[in-house]
């Protein structure tokens, strides 16, 4: 195989992997909208795409670039009924913050990654709450937002495991 042919294969493989990570994140946005009919769950449902943004920003930022994070935020806003721009700005800022700390997170134990997520998710929840209050000129009860934060942090290990499995399967094909 010539080096040119190898380059073309590597590029298409990388393109496939990138689309796969973006697709995974968008799937999480859509899955997060499915009604589960569990009493009280809809108000505190975990913010699944936030976990994807955090995960890919640490391990493979090349697979989920900032523009894809922006698009995921837009889709989240469109489907959830939130004002356009709120989840978008939160996702982009989370991506930016995690990227600045990427070197710190690399190779750390899962408990440190989880702790990091709990801090990032706390910041994201407070920012979403503030931006919503600013947009509607009214403060909403922080109670549901706090429980949603706890649920999001609680679900993180399961989704992190799924993402690692997905990542391994993607990289195996590249």
């Amino acid at each position: 195989m010539s080096s040119n042919e190898f380059d073309v294969l590597a590029t298409s493989g990388s393109c496939y992997a990138r689309h796969n990570a973006v697709f995974f994140t968008l799937v999480l946005v859509v899955l997060g909208q499915v009604p589960l009919h569990i009493p009280g769950f809809a108000e505190v449902a975990p913010l699944l795409p936030l976990m994807a943004v955090y995960h890919w920003a640490i391990y493979r930022p090349d697979l989920l670039p900032a523009i894809a994070v922006f698009m995921a935020g837009l889709l989240q806003d469109a489907l959830s009924g939130m004002p356009f721009g709120i989840n978008t700005v939160v996702f982009v800022l989370v991506h930016m913050v995690v990227m600045t700390q990427q070197m710190f997170f690399m190779g750390k134990s899962f408990s440190i990654i989880w702790l990091g997520f709990s801090l990032v998710a706390a910041g994201a929840t407070v920012l979403t709450w503030l931006l919503t209050a600013l947009f509607y000129s009214a403060f909403t009860s922080p109670e549901s937002a706090f429980i949603q934060y706890l649920v999001t942090v609680g679900v993180f290990p399961l989704l992190a495991w799924l993402q690692v499995r997905w990542q391994q399967s993607v990289l195996a094909q590249v």
């Binding site: 009604p35 009493p39 922006f70 469109a78 721009g85 709120i86 509607y136 549901s144 949603q148």
Partner: protein, 293 residues
């Protein structure tokens, strides 16, 4: 000379960092611009939202079916375990309803006679469209659901959405094949209601909790826990008499209402066209949003 490669490497990195920072700044500014646009031109943003919802609604329709099936199985098992008690309860309820049926027939006949005496012109029968709830997750910040019925089925903005239990909310935005329903618990929901027994007028204001509040009650009005709340029909948005909920708590400064409709039980809803346009059309409401603070 030895430092040169290191220096150029450093320069490339700092250039990349600068480009990256500008990239993030651009995206954050774009997101804030969207927020401002959403404030300034509600119609345009709602059209974009409806287009996205229309595209994803068929996927959500398929995804929501297994969740509903699991819920149905759990519900069936729960019902099986409570079969005996439920049977006793239903027999008692049936007895009570037979008595009510007899009373209702008598009142209906009397009502017909009185209407005949008054030359009463009855309103048109409302039309309705049934839709499936395919998405429900604004999380803690928005209380709305996406329904799989849209403009092509006859759904339009402002229509009342009900279930057999009572009022769910109103249609907030309409796409071709999907519609977003603002639940009565949402922060932006304001519904004119009356306390059924005393006919005291009030506004039911959502606050993103599962217990909306009664506001703008006239001074001296008395309300007790357990009072039924129904729509008043004022403002022309909804017809009078749609059951909304019961007064849950009467505090010193707040009165909360427990809606009849549970958000987690919403599977199929009815979008009802009562032929009412409401006092504010969408254009006026959009203009007013910028003026009324």
């Amino acid at each position: 000379m030895k430092n040169r490669p290191h220096l150029s490497h450093h320069l490339i990195h700092s250039e990349k960092g600068m480009a990256s920072r500008f990239g993030y700044l651009g995206l954050v500014l774009a997101a804030f611009a969207l927020m401002l646009l959403g404030k300034a031109d509600v119609e345009v943003m709602e059209k974009v939202r409806s287009t996205v919802s229309d595209t994803i609604a068929p996927v959500l329709e398929i995804l929501s079916r297994p969740a509903t099936a699991v819920d149905q199985v759990v519900d069936d098992v729960t019902q099986m375990t409570n079969l005996r008690n439920e049977n006793i309860r239903l027999r008692e309820e049936n007895q009570r309803l037979i008595e009510w049926q007899s009373a209702a027939r008598k009142l209906s006949s009397e009502n017909q006679q009185l209407k005949g005496l008054l030359n009463f012109a009855p309103g048109a029968e409302p039309g309705f469209v049934s839709g499936r709830v395919v998405a429900d997750s604004g999380g803690a910040f928005v209380h709305s659901v996406l329904v799989s019925a849209g403009a092509r089925d006859g759904v339009s903005k402002g229509q009342a959405v009900i279930t057999g239990d009572g009022l769910v909310g109103r249609v907030h935005a309409v796409g071709s094949r999907s519609a977003r329903v603002l639940l009565l618990t949402d922060l932006n929901s304001r519904i004119p209601v009356v306390v059924e027994a005393t006919r005291t007028r009030a506004i039911l204001a959502g606050d993103n909790t599962d217990r909306p509040r009664l506001v703008h009650m006239p001074p001296g009005a008395t309300v007790s826990a357990g009072d039924r709340i129904v729509t008043s029909g004022h403002g022309g948005a909804f017809p009078p008499g749609i059951p909304v909920g019961v007064v849950a708590l009467v505090g010193e400064s707040t009165i909360t209402v427990k809606p009849y409709v549970y958000r987690d039980r919403l599977e199929y809803v009815r979008v009802v066209d009562y032929g009412l346009q409401g006092i504010l059309d969408s254009n006026f409401a959009a203009e007013g949003a910028g003026v009324i603070k």
